[in-house]
């Protein structure tokens, strides 16, 4: 039997369900409690909504919707295709991107007892002790709060701490050289840090999982911006011709002749940096190649008969763009946006490497590599794992771009 793309989706989701059974079930219960407490204490419940909560709800819903959709569209071309390197990576990345809160063991900023968890090698393990908080489970709202605190990955827990080891009778624990009694009513859980921990004792695996979101969303948003600019300017330039075209064309030459990385650094150093500024700058400074392509295409389309007849039919500008030009330029736009995406992810990682990233402590992969550099001797894993993910993702995008351009343009296929 052929292994199809839909199979790997089911497999991954199933695996996730087995490994994270508790988290997934409690997020449904959390959703139920949330709706319940909306009725009892509306204002307080509303003020508790934050991105992390929505994130968990979204993945809970997606967890049901995704398999259903996959099943519903199992005959769809993309899903029927036989499994290959690209689709596996694509599906894994998508899963990580969507289900980050379920996959990650911890919040990316979570650290506790730095002296126990600092700079642990990959596959080391420590014991996490959780003290149970008594009482306070009267109302639905209180239940909701306490379940939320235990289900959602928090950057901080006051009732959890790491120890080196717990005695076999579960009564005492060892931390460094001391042995102490376990607080009553607490349970312990052995935690494996598959990718090790960093200098603050944060789980590298969780950070990479959340970092995928940061790096990929920077790539997506910035390349969308650059696409919009490129298509718009290209269309405008090609449609108008004459002076506007000349000016825009010189302008794009100007951008091309300019060492862009310096412009970006210059802008960041003058106006500071944040996620949005970074995305905006990366988008704005990368529209030129697409502009050139679209412009040339529009010029050639304008000389084609079907376009001329459309103009004679009296279509307005908007219709001309949407009906006649856009469909013709879609292939180059798609290929370009894929490569653009790779460029942006690369640029972001280079900027983060220079310490000029998003300016927040969002764990992008480039930032993780930059931070890991100080521990080159003591913690190779701090660079290795984010580096691997960056490399795999970027190669995946490059191969994807190549495949798309090949499939759109069968002539370019050689050998």
């Amino acid at each position: 039997m052929k292994i199809k793309n839909s199979h790997i989706i089911f497999f991954l989701l199933g695996l996730l369900f087995l490994l994270k059974f508790n988290t997934i079930i409690s997020s449904y219960y959390l959703l139920y409690l949330f709706i319940g407490s909306l009725f009892s204490e509306f204002n307080n419940t509303i003020s508790n909504i934050d991105l992390m909560l929505l994130d968990v709800f979204l993945s809970a819903i997606l967890f049901i919707v995704a398999p259903l959709l996959t099943y519903r569209y199992r005959k769809y071309k993309l899903l029927v295709k036989e499994l290959n390197f690209i689709s596996v990576i694509a599906i894994i990345l998508l899963t990580i991107f969507l289900f980050a809160p379920v996959i990650a063991n911890f919040h990316p900023d979570f650290h506790k007892n730095i002296n126990v968890t600092k700079l642990l090698k990959p596959f080391s393990s420590k014991v996490l002790i959780e003290q149970r908080i008594q009482g306070a489970s009267e109302s639905v709202f209180d239940k909701f709060i306490s379940l939320r605190n235990s289900t959602i990955n928090q950057p901080f827990y006051s009732n959890k701490f790491f120890v080196d080891n717990v005695s076999s009778d579960n009564k005492s624990f060892q931390q460094k050289d001391t042995e102490e009694l376990l607080p009553p009513g607490s349970n312990s859980k052995r935690i494996y840090f598959v990718f090790g921990t960093d200098e603050l004792g944060r789980d590298v695996f969780s950070r990479i999982v959340y970092g995928a979101r940061v790096s990929l969303s920077i790539g997506i948003v910035a390349s969308l911006i650059s696409m919009l600019l490129g298509v718009f300017f290209g269309f405008y330039s090609g449609y108008k011709g004459g002076a506007p075209d000349f000016i825009l064309n010189k302008f794009s030459d100007l951008f091309l002749a300019f060492p862009i990385i310096f412009l970006i650094i210059f802008i960041i150093s003058l106006w500071g940096s944040s996620f949005f500024i970074l995305v905006l700058i990366l988008g704005i400074t990368s529209w030129m190649p697409l502009y050139k392509l679209v412009r040339t295409d529009v010029f050639s389309i304008r000389n084609k008969d079907y376009y001329k007849s459309a103009v004679l039919l009296g279509l307005n500008k908007k219709q001309l763009l949407l009906k006649e030009i856009l469909p013709a330029i879609i292939p180059i736009v798609v290929v370009n946006i894929v490569y653009q995406f790779a460029n942006v992810v690369l640029a972001e990682s280079a900027l983060s490497y220079l310490g000029l990233g998003t300016g927040s402590n969002l764990p992008s992969w480039g930032k993780m590599i930059n931070e890991g550099q100080s521990y080159l001797y003591k913690g190779w894993w701090l660079i290795f794992f984010p580096g691997m993910f960056l490399l795999l993702t970027l190669s995946f995008i490059n191969i994807l771009g190549k495949r798309i351009s090949e499939s759109l343009n069968p002539l370019s296929k050689n050998d």
Partner: protein, 529 residues
Amino acid sequence: MSSLYKLLSFFLLIFLFASCSGNDASKKNTLVIGVDSDVESLNPLFAYSGIEPTIAELLYPSLVKHSWDDNAGEIKSEPWIAEYIEWLNDSSAVKITLKDVKWSDGKKITPEDVKFSLEIYSNADLQSRFYGTFENFKEDKDLRILIEETFTLDNENTFTLHFKDKAKPSYFDFDFPILPAHAFNKNNPKEDPKNIYGGPFVLDKRTKEQSITLKRNKNFSDASVGNIEKIIFKVIPDYNTRILQLKNSEIDICEDVKPDDADELKENSRIKMAQVKGREYDYIGLNNNSPLFKNVNIRKGISYSINKNEILGEFLLNYGELANAPVAPVFKGQFNKSLQPINYNINAAKSIFTSEGWKDNNKNGILEKGGEEFSFTMYIPAGNPRRDFAANVIKNNLKEAGIDLTVQQVEPGTFFDNMFQKKYDCWMAGWVVPIPTQLEPYFHSGEEGIFNLFNYSNKDVDKLLEQAQSEKNKTKKNELYKLIQEKIYNDSPIVFLYWIDNLVFYNSSLKNVNITPLGALHNCWQWSY
């Protein structure tokens, strides 16, 4: 295919050569210092940053030299190229006789050179690094020293400096590298001077972004000169590479080693560690005028919430100590031992916030008061691993206390611009405190407080600061400083975090090395192999 083999054999050859061309060249009596950035200018007028002042002090002699008295915890000054220094008329003037010393071109160092140095350093058009620091001298409105009223030549070796009325001058007022007047272009003093030096070393060679080589000045005679013939400042921007070269004995001394690397380096018998007690501290600046932080209890509550010991223990590995006030513990006479640092105490913090009316009614983990959540943004300069580490710990600590902290990293140039323009309500930065202690610029509420970026204002402290500044009696001055520390401690205008030790590693075959708070390379001309 043959070219592939050629390529391969070429690389093979390179590796063979590379592995045998070790580092066995004659390093006799050469001191190689690993530094993180090249100097921008070797012109002594503009030796502002990094290693530049250190080099200027090796190249140009000064009237006085300093040493550190570890027992008293204070700086000691003595004449260097001055033979005698004599205070006149109740310290309003000083009479100085120069030793018979020569510049590297054989010309004598004369009082005219001192006069020229004073003129050129205080020249407003040049903006030298000492410009604006001659407040005890008679100056015009552009802070140019009125040289005719200040300088009188007594004989060919002796001159007198007259200070302005009510000035309280000290050795530090004429502690600047003396410049050779005949090395400068009179018409355009901005030009780099000719290569004439008077210090223990002269410039040998400079390769941009690679190294600066100094060699011994044959004309300089001082009993305490060591036997080092050459000092090479080797530019190694990457920290890891500096450590690697330190291990391989490619460099002989390296400052600011990270505590994380110290333990491993200590095992290496070829290098020794000098742990210099810090005179640099990190703090969290809080705008004392902002609605949130103008309440002293809130500031203290924030201080209680922060687990400074964890940062000190896990990042600095206890190479440092908690700070309680702005006087460094190395200044033993002035340091107020009786003040206990505000330690991490989450319950104390929580009860302070509760009594100030901050409660978490909606149980989202963040305190509220009057519908406002307790949240603010802390700005930190990007690219400083220690502050990144601390900011992460602090963020979590404050979360525990019920405060939502956002940490925003800002590119350092922008950060310091904004910080000095008082654009931030909360930020984390550090100060390296000067020797001797100066508190007025940092804590005075008036015009003197140019670094009072947190708008601290306490009239008592202002008065005490003025008294301390003008007090000549050492014991009384120290007592005043202790009192000031106590007042500042009680007001907690900022959150004092910790003093950071400077970890210096050096070649263990170096002798006579005495690394003090004055700087790792201070007096390195006295070292020997």
